[in-house]
Amino acid sequence: MAAATSGMYRKEKSIQLKSSSAALYNNLSVLPLPGRQLTCFSTVHGPSLSMVTADGLGFSHRQLQAKEGGMTVSTSLLTQAAWCVLPSRVLLVLTSQKGIQMYESDGSIMVYWHALDVTEHPPAQAVFARGIAAAGGRFICVGTSSGLVLVFDIPPKGTNIMVSEVLERHCDAITDIAAELGQAPDGAGDLVTADDAGTLCVWSTGEEFALLSKIPAFGCTCSSVKLWNGIVAAGYGNGQIRLYEATTGLLRAEVNAHARWIYALDLAPQTGKVWLAVLGHPTPAAHQPGVWQPADGQAGAASLPQHTALPPPRHPSGLPVPMASVPLPLQLLSGAEDSFVHVWKLSRNLDTDDVEVSLCSSSPQWGAWGRLVVLQGIAALWGHSTGAALSSVLSLW
């Protein structure tokens, strides 16, 4: 029996958001800008997006009112927001009940608007877009409530964005999409999509996407998914985390992780420091994203990658460090409605090729007034040179 402690992480100061965040999956996106010593993060609430920029000294807040197809005030609810990092540009993507909006990364200019086709959905079914990921260095994939995954081809600059493909392998609403954050083994896919029924699809991206494997559901919604070095990490509505081989769909580990529905997962390779971002509960003073920093002298602390798409870590010279060199072990974060944040260590036994999972640390999330809060979003940040780790504590709405 291994007892887990929260000794590995030290909670630091909290950041106030101007409004609470909505009760939705994966509701926290982070954009580190190491060159500018800034980190931005965002969460959705109603029809608007709250953005906070942290520069290690202070925080500045913005609210972005999502515009839908030209109307000045949107009346539809946002379901998710994520920064999509591509080699040539970073776009801020918002999904809502009406469709998909893409902005320049600071939210200043809308570059693309895609309305959802209501007729595609059976009557009485909810209509919305959900699930966002940058993939293949060139595409942004977004899911819909009818189970479709829209693949957008993004030019290096400008607004000439087009739907290059529509993937039709899910029958239920898409919950989350994740791109390979590390290096996929030969033949393994580099994109995984998950849906409400709990079905997972693994794809290889390119001019034409190909379905490589389909991992069947077992009766629970998969609300959050991550892909690293050919391993799919999936969080489910019954509190379980399951790890699968992406190529074969084979189950390699099953963890009875949480007592409630999992809302968010994130991954971190074990190089450098770990910063945890956890979206949190509004306290009476404010909504307090909390900052977690690894305790000093901790061996094996890892940097946590960005929530949806990973900007390559950069040398001081500014050149990206090749991701291929970062193998397992790595750390997996999970957050759920039971208020717990768990950090798991994942490693691969080189002889048997078996995946090993163990709990590194865990703690329930406490709001400022000593009450437990519910986890909505988790994001890890790449080695932030200022040492300011960001985490937001989940809210109890």
Binding site: H287, D354, V357, W397
Partner: protein, 379 residues
Amino acid sequence: MSARTLPLLFLNLGGEMLYILDQRLRAQSIPGDKARKVMNDIITTMFNKKFMEELFKPQELYSKKALRTVYDRLAHASIMRLNQASMDKLYDLMTMAFKYQVLLCPRPKDILLVTFNHLDAIKDFIRDAPGILNQVDETFRQLTETYSCLSAGEFQLIRQTLLIFFQDMHIRVSIFLKDKVQNSNGRFVLPISGPVPWGTEVPGLIRMFNHNGDEVKRTEFTTGGNYVLPQREGSFDLYGDRVLKLGTNMYSVSRPVETHMSGSSKNLASHAKENIVPNPLAKEELNFLARLLGGLEIQKPGGSETGFRLNLFTTDEEEENAALTRPEELSYKVINIEATQEPGRRAELSRIMGELEVAEPRPGSAGKGEELLALMDGL
């Protein structure tokens, strides 16, 4: 987001309203026959067939203000009257109670069990009136038909839709504070012990498999939580043990109805915005109300029945004071509905308003068609 949320929202809020009214009728020592009449009239109105048909149509949720109008009407479906301050307090209590229930539901599907708990209690209120009992059973059947085939993911969407509806409401309720399920900043307390939801395992086990699918290793971990497996699943049948206590009547003689009307947290930005920005959905909301209220058949009070006023506070003075000191941000005021511009809609509303009789004549109203709007403006 989910188009199937309204029936659950309406029935559960209605159930809470009946719990509170029942408790206050006793507290104010209203004669038994009058109290029973009020409860029967309200329940009959709530479960009216035409009304239920409108309710169960797939549709988006409208604003809190629009919904509030329906409950205002419902509360006045009989010989009982409520002043503005009492109606405000009633609505606050109803919404915070249901918000708590939604939040603490172990599984999203358990919202249905919460709804059944409310309906079970409602059937108990009208056990001496078999005619109305049929209507409630019919609603049970409709609920089962609509919701029994929904997946866990769809229920979670309903739950998320409800939580978004209740977001930023943090009114403190005495009973919750006393029971320590709500803390002094208005947020609810989340337990980390007790039974896990049905279908979830107690956290602690890790299993690892080799490439043949054989389990090769198993380890266990502990966390700060203290969970156990539940004994059994609640029943979704017409009759049965729901197991879940959420949605049962928490008020009684020894646990009266009270609220603290302290202003909520400083997070009022979104609240204030809602009141200032002209509501682009105003027309749709009026249409929705017209359809819904059109189905409400309000009982006309008989000649011999005299009405009475129910007070949600302990004294009239307290009620007056509450009206004067209600924080601005908690006001349910509606700003400027533009639908008066549309003559067709006005005619329709006039017709509906004509069918709805209020016990007291409204002084100097410009026209029946504007009464609904006046009603909303007065909120």
